[in-house]
């Protein structure tokens, strides 16, 4: 009996570990190449105490790292961010131009449910979104049944990308 329990739990653990690798919809390097043609060298935004505090207010938790890599050319910048939906991080790319989101894409999705956030019908809601005065998006993002937490993570990342873009241009 105990052996069977342990086998079952071990199998579940292996399944969860496999899920952690996630489904790669597009390699971040391919996303960058698609946006820029020839990818410019990465730049770095150092998260000072003030930036950390504002990023924490957006995310609902402190940012996990102190520097954020990004790529920019002219008015366009690309932010590849990670945020946890329910259990696993979602990797998404945001292209920001003139303070608005040009487009967003889910690059790696690791959760077992909620993959609908990668669909164009959902992502097009972010097009032209900008930050309102209170730091929220200037529009409501329609949720997806069964993917509430992933939708929330995408919205937080969109706000963070816009905030980081603004901070990088100060």
């Amino acid at each position: 009996m105990i052996l069977a329990v342990r086998r079952l739990l071990a199998a579940l653990t292996v399944m969860l570990a496999a899920a952690a690798y996630g489904e790669v919809y597009q390699e971040p390097s391919a996303f960058l190449a698609e946006v820029f043609g020839k990818t410019p060298p990465p730049k770095v935004l150092w998260l000072t105490k003030d930036l950390q505090a504002e990023a924490a207010a957006i995310l609902g938790h402190p940012p996990v790292q102190l520097r954020q890599r990004y790529w920019s050319e002219g008015v366009k910048s690309v932010w590849i961010l990670e945020e946890t939906g329910k259990e696993e991080p979602i990797t998404a790319g945001f292209v920001v131009a003139e303070g608005r989101i040009d487009h967003a894409r889910v690059l790696v999705y690791r959760e077992s449910r909620g993959q609908e956030v990668r669909e164009a019908a959902f992502l097009k809601q972010f097009r032209n979104a900008k930050l309102a005065k209170d730091g929220a998006l200037d529009r409501d993002i329609d949720g997806i049944v069964g993917a509430t937490l992933s939708v929330g993570a995408m919205e937080r990342m969109a706000r963070l990308a816009l905030f980081f873009d603004r901070a990088s241009r100060r």
Partner: protein, 248 residues
Amino acid sequence: MSPRVLLLLFLRRWHMRIGLAAVVFFLFLAITGVVLNHSAELGLDTRYVHAAWLARWYGIPAEAPRHAFRSGRHDLIAANGRWMLDGRLSGERLPQPLGLVELPDMVVVASSASLYLYGKDGALIDHLERNALPAVPVQAIGAEERRLVLKTASGSFQTRDALSWKSAPRNGVAWSSPVDLSASDRQRYALLLEPGISVQRILLDVHSGRFAGRYGPLVMDLIAILIAVLSLSGVWLFFKRKHRRERH
């Protein structure tokens, strides 16, 4: 007594018995269900329970640390997906490290497919995955003239900032290599680096009954059936009583 009254008495008696017998399970299901619904807000997915017996129950073999990586004043010991960098735990579900290098303004830990950059105070500066590395898998990490050097099958690469990379010379690199831990250190770090299971995972398994193994979900199914029986018998008893009151 008429058969209808007998049935009513029978139902009422069993409604009470089932309700009393199952009250603990119902409360348990309700509480764990509510907590799970708010697991993200409560941060249950980022909280881990570290206990050897729990890992054994989950069939996760506990790995004892054997080596340490040392560079300058810094050291790293790893086991069970956990790192202890300079005596401070660095997180969960981390990869197996290949080496540790101290640079003038940061400490770098490499795994075969990622780099972790820490400040001298142990704060994570950046985490680079395979896409941000010049090549993978990383075979070794070292330092040469205050530069970080990665050895890969495609050659060696050096950087000062882990942003731009160029080919590195083959010679003069001090490669990081593991140092054996003493038996007492192994024992000490084995306790500090016990494998962990997330609280959310445990609660989910307890809620669904999977924690008790193959028959656990069947027990939970039985409880669900009891809830259905209680609901239906409750509704029936309610309408029966109402009907009798109206007749009187």
